[in-house]
């Protein structure tokens, strides 16, 4: 997770248009609006840096070296003070949300405890505009607003009032067809181009055999499996930590690629394993879908179309692979030696790298 946050920060820094401002810090604010009923704002920030400011402002001496539990206690104790330095307004009127403070992580040479501050409340009836101010940071930070799958990000300085943001998307009942298409696209883009690990897994399935039936058997097993765990995870029936799921997904890719090097026929256990791996990948898809946010009123449509989008993405990978190499080279005697084995070795190396990275560098 830590590496993912680092990568996200680098990507945000590189992709941001913030050049005429202070340096970008680590604070991130995300506002999620659920239809026209409720909002949730999540602030992720360095816990010790925030607590030091709260302690100084309240006239206490700074306590260094506090652990996560003590930092969380300090945040909870300074709730009224914390509320004085942010403003959440709808159509110019400030609202007071419920706030939940959580701190996780340990202070080491490589990490610091992170505070996740969650603000939640009901949207005022007919609210059209939203504005945000946060003055607990000196650095530039991002404000990301999510509404029914759509997302926009603004860069703000500590204390700067955001430009009023229109809540047009959530102010009316969303069109079911539009929601369906949006989640279909999100499912597809989660595979192509955003899901390199899932793409390599599907390529691994493709590379085993030149027979269409064998490819389809594996794809079907994978699809049924990931559909099951995607639904069960999204409904909260199954819950496995990404710390377990993500390294195992990388292992599954490595396994499929390595087996391709030594096997050229579809064996029954391969179908069973692909099914088991599909269960894992489904949990990964569920994590991504939860991050995107699911509209409550269109929950089933969004879930179903996201799954269809994922499927379409996988079939697109197989179709592209077939057109690029399978169609022309598939029946050549050197196909296995010059295409399947080298490609599988590369996939296995990449997957091995991801496994180590996700096990040891992602907390």
């Amino acid at each position: 997770m830590k590496l993912a946050i680092c990568c996200a920060i680098v990507l945000m820094i590189l992709s941001s248009a913030v050049c005429d401002a202070h340096e970008i810090g680590t604070t991130r604010v995300t506002a999620v609006f659920q239809q026209s009923t409720s909002y949730e704002i999540e602030i992720v920030t360095d816990a010790a840096a925030l607590v030091e400011k709260l302690e100084t402002l309240s006239g206490e001496s700074i306590q260094s070296g506090l652990d996560a539990a003590a930092l969380q206690k300090q945040l909870q104790a300074h709730d009224s003070l914390f509320r004085r330095r942010f403003a959440l307004t709808f159509d110019g009127t400030a609202v007071q949300p419920e706030i939940h403070y959580a701190v996780a992580g340990i202070a080491t040479a490589t990490s610091s405890p992170v505070a996740t501050i969650t603000m939640a409340g009901g949207l005022p009836a007919g609210a059209k505009q939203f504005a945000w101010t946060y003055a607990w940071t000196f650095a530039t930070y991002s404000l990301t607003v999510r509404e029914t799958g759509a997302e926009r990000t603004e860069w703000l300085e500590g204390g700067q009032v955001s430009a009023p943001m229109s809540l047009a998307l959530s102010a009316h009942t969303p069109d079911r067809i539009a929601t369906g298409f949006r989640y279909l696209a999100l499912g597809f883009t989660h595979i192509v181009p955003n899901g390199l690990d899932h793409m390599l897994f599907v390529l691994g399935i493709f590379l085993l055999s030149r027979r269409l039936r064998e490819v389809l058997t594996q794809v079907s097993a994978f699809t049924i499996a990931h559909s099951i765990t995607l639904a069960l995870s999204v409904y909260g029936i199954v819950s496995v930590s990404p710390k377990v799921v993500e390294p195992l997904i990388a292992v599954s890719i490595a396994y499929v690629a390595i087996e391709n090097i030594f096997m050229s026929e579809l064996r029954p256990w391969r179908v069973a394993l692909v099914f088991a791996f599909g269960l894992l990948h489904g949990m990964g898809f569920a994590g991504a879908l939860k991050d995107l946010g699911l509209p409550r009123s269109e929950f089933v449509i969004a879930l179903a179309t996201f799954n269809v989008g994922v499927e379409a993405g996988q079939l697109a990978v197989i179709a592209a692979a077939f057109l690029l190499v399978g169609w022309y080279c598939g029946r050549r005697h050197w196909y296995r030696r010059l295409v399947v084995v080298p490609a599988s070795v590369l996939i296995a190396c990449m997957a091995a790298y991801w496994t180590v990275q996700r096990l040891y560098f992602v907390s």
């Binding site: 202070h22 840096a49 402002l57 001496s61 650095a139 500590g158």
Partner: protein
Amino acid sequence: MKIVRFIVALILTAAPLAAHDMWIEPTSFLPDAGKVIGVKLRIGQDFLGDPLPRDPALIDQFISVDSSGRKPVYGHDGADPAGLVRVADSSLLILGYQSHPKPITLPAATFNQYLKEEGLDAIAELRTRRNQTNSEAREIFERCAKSLVRYGTPANGQADRALGFTLELVAEKNPYTLHAGEDLPVSLMYEGRALPGALVVAMNRSNPMSKISARTDKTGHVKLRLPEDGVWLVKAVHMIPAPAGSNADWASFWASLTFEVGK
């Protein structure tokens, strides 16, 4: 204490884009043998700071220097701490970070206030002469931060030294041999030469509002009497008219030096 609260409240609610300090905060100023320390970069005011993750686009130099020489400080891009250093040598370890210039545009009032706070009187006068006091200011700023970390027994022979940063504070005595109430002689250099008449400010971690300040003499030196033990931040800001072609009016340089006293 009420005054402290009032000042901090003012800082936190100050107009955005006000000038902020930048300093290095190692995870330990007194690490044990062979330990890896995190090199945190902090941006803020009055020693209250926010993490600055490692941004490769901003780094000009990020180095550690000890008796074995000068080495780059490595780290993951986007990570806080921005770098990691293994303390292997029994000496004073100097950590240094110099950034590339970064542009910022400040409203007239904010810029005027910042010139006053940082003691940049010559620039304020120049703006008055140029009739620019009501104009917004386009500035490029460069960070020149240093930190002194001690490993082993402190000795007077171990000293800070100039790393060649554009603006640089150099402790002329090993601060780890100091005790509360003693003087720390510091020199300030701009492009390798002594910078006279510049405001140098020191503040303690546990009491950052109570600042010690003095201007450098003709030879760029200043003596700071540090009344308390603990972690100290010494800072200085220098500003010049921006060079032609920089697309800015002013170029500023932010030097800082952090260390711990009394351990």
